[in-house]
């Protein structure tokens, strides 16, 4: 294992210290329990938005804390859901009297820990609503699995819900909007390499030099299918085809196209993938009205990408375009 760390057990905490040192003007960091919160929280009268998940997906979620997006994020251990006490304290810290929305990716641990936190928050008299994202089309048989995983759409939902909360929407309205984003969004990812959790010291799975894994999640867990490596054009056709046919997205639709890097793939390759996505979608009569390209929901140093499409309407577009000022996503501010 070759990593830019001091000690495996200190990575999460030391990264939090780095975030505090770098972005202390915008966010505060609590270490016990661990959460990152807007420096000006709670914003009175505004719905608070909390998300969280295992560490190793940076910049998600901590990099998305700030005006126009999340009020707080709870980082767990590497690839491990955070605990209910972290979520409860974060929820209290952002409660400005209008209630708190939990945005939860559909992973067994995240769902159970957030469920317990919501019960505790409600016990403390805070109105809590939860929306579980589950946009990963790679999971086909959701009846006999833990259900579709929450992946790329979570980033878009956090941005759009953050704007709606800024716009003065109620907790019920922001939660409905979050569900709408999730309903209109689909994702799928692929890996060229595995990744190594520092405390484990070796790659989570083995992938040969000429192999790729299609339909991966974001925790280094193997995907649905392993196959010989193909050119970017064919890989993007596989991912985009599965996504488009699932919703389905149709000719005349206007979408936000999100090409995400898994952590180890350079931006130049993501632009190659975006070129192919643009071609595949325009062949199908689908217009890309907005895009996001870069590593936003990663899996440590895994090489590969995921594609997320979100069908846009005027309201979603307006909230996407609204100002955002976070360490990892910033425009109009």
């Amino acid at each position: 294992m070759k990593k830019l760390i001091n000690a495996p057990d200190d990575v999460v905490r030391e990264a939090l210290e780095g975030i505090e040192a770098a972005h202390g003007d915008r966010v505060r960091v609590s270490y016990d329990p661990a959460y990152i919160v807007r420096a000006d929280a709670p914003v009175q009268g505004k719905v608070g938005i909390v998300s969280g998940g295992g560490s190793g997906h940076e910049p998600m979620h901590g990099g998305f804390v700030g005006p126009g997006m999340l009020d707080a994020a709870c980082p767990g251990e590497m690839f491990t859901s955070p605990t209910p006490d972290q979520m409860l304290e974060a929820t209290k810290a952002v409660n400005g009297g209008a209630g708190v929305l939990h945005i939860v990716k559909n992973y067994t641990g995240d769902v159970m820990n957030f469920e317990m936190a919501a019960e505790l928050g409600q016990g403390d008299g805070i109105e809590v609503a939860s929306v579980v994202t589950n946009d990963d089309v790679a999971v086909q048989d959701s009846l006999y699995t833990a259900g579709r995983r929450g992946v790329g759409i979570t980033v878009l939902a956090e941005k759009i819900c953050g704007a709606a909360a800024d716009d003065g929407k109620s907790l019920a309205e922001v939660a409905d909007l979050c569900r709408r984003v999730n309903d209109q969004g689909r994702s799928m990812g692929m890996a060229l390499t595995s990744c190594t959790v520092p405390s484990a010291g070796e790659p989570t799975f083995q992938l040969g030099e000429n192999e790729m894994e299609i339909g991966i999640g974001i925790h280094g867990e193997p995907g649905r299918e392993r196959m010989p490596l193909e050119p970017a054009a064919r890989i993007v056709e596989r991912l985009a085809g599965a996504i488009v046919e699932d919703l389905p997205y149709e000719s005349g639709d206007s979408v936000l196209a999100f090409v995400n890097g898994m952590g180890g793939t350079p931006l130049i390759e993501l632009y190659v993938a975006y070129r192919e996505l643009n071609r595949v979608l325009s062949d199908r009569g689908i217009t890309i009205a907005r895009n996001l390209i870069g590593p936003y929901i990663t899996s440590l140093e895994m090489a590969g990408c995921s594609i997320t499409l979100l069908r846009l309407d005027d309201e979603l577009t307006r909230y996407w375009d609204a100002p955002v000022n976070t360490p990892a996503l910033r425009w109009g501010a």
């Binding site: 767990g76 251990e77 641990g109 317990m116 070796e202 925790h219 193997p222």
Partner: protein
């Protein structure tokens, strides 16, 4: 014989030691069909549980088990935190105010714990989860208690049943948790959660044998 709070403390400490010893194995099993953090997470959680238990006075077994549950819930994360946390919380709930557990009381507690695990995780037998080790263990414990076995003998039968349940997860296709995303590829792997649950019963049988 029965187990008082000093014995329960020994059990928790024994489990923490066994988890630490098997940390690598649990992680390897989890890397094969999950995300490779089960050993690390359980080790961290049980260390916290032992620390927290040191501050709980002897006497009430229920209070001890609840303290272990709270420590796990607030330090493990993942799926293991809420599930093992709930297991201990419900066992603690079932034994509140009790200063000693005989085989019957231990069976009541384990049944309550497993019920809590199923309510939180929604797993059924055969889903390739910790429930596949815990349910047979609870049934064996109940049967042994019903036949008048003492606690040590009853826990031995429970631990053996948990081992069989753990081994029976190998050919199963996972239907819960991250392993479920592998579908058929989850076959021929031993479930890490069933493995750590067997270790829990095995530590009970060993620590409470005398």
């Amino acid at each position: 014989m029965s187990a008082d709070s000093a014995a329960v403390r020994q059990w928790v400490e024994a489990y923490a030691a066994v988890v630490s010893e098997h940390r690598g194995e649990l992680t390897r099993l989890d890397q094969a069909i999950g995300d490779g953090d089960h050993g690390t997470n359980m080790d961290r959680g049980m260390r916290k549980a032992v620390e927290k238990l040191a501050g709980v006075p002897d006497g009430d077994v229920g209070a001890q088990l609840k303290a272990v549950g709270m420590a796990l819930i607030s330090s493990v994360g993942g799926a293991g935190g809420p599930l093992y946390g709930t297991l201990f919380m419900q066992m603690g709930q079932s034994t509140t105010g009790k200063e000693e557990l005989d085989a019957e009381a231990f069976a009541d507690a384990l049944e309550a714990g497993v019920k809590g695990v199923q309510a939180r995780g929604k797993a059924e037998p055969g889903d390739k989860t910790m429930v596949d080790a815990l349910l047979p263990a609870a049934a064996a414990l109940r049967a042994a208690a019903g036949e008048g076995a003492d606690l040590a003998a009853a826990l031995r039968r429970a631990a053996d049943a948990a081992r069989e349940g753990r081994d029976a997860t190998i050919p199963l296709v996972a239907r819960k948790g991250r392993a479920s995303y592998l579908g058929e590829r989850s076959r021929d792997h031993q479930d890490p959660g069933a493995t750590s649950s067997h270790l829990l019963l095995e530590s009970a049988a060993t620590a409470l044998a005398s």
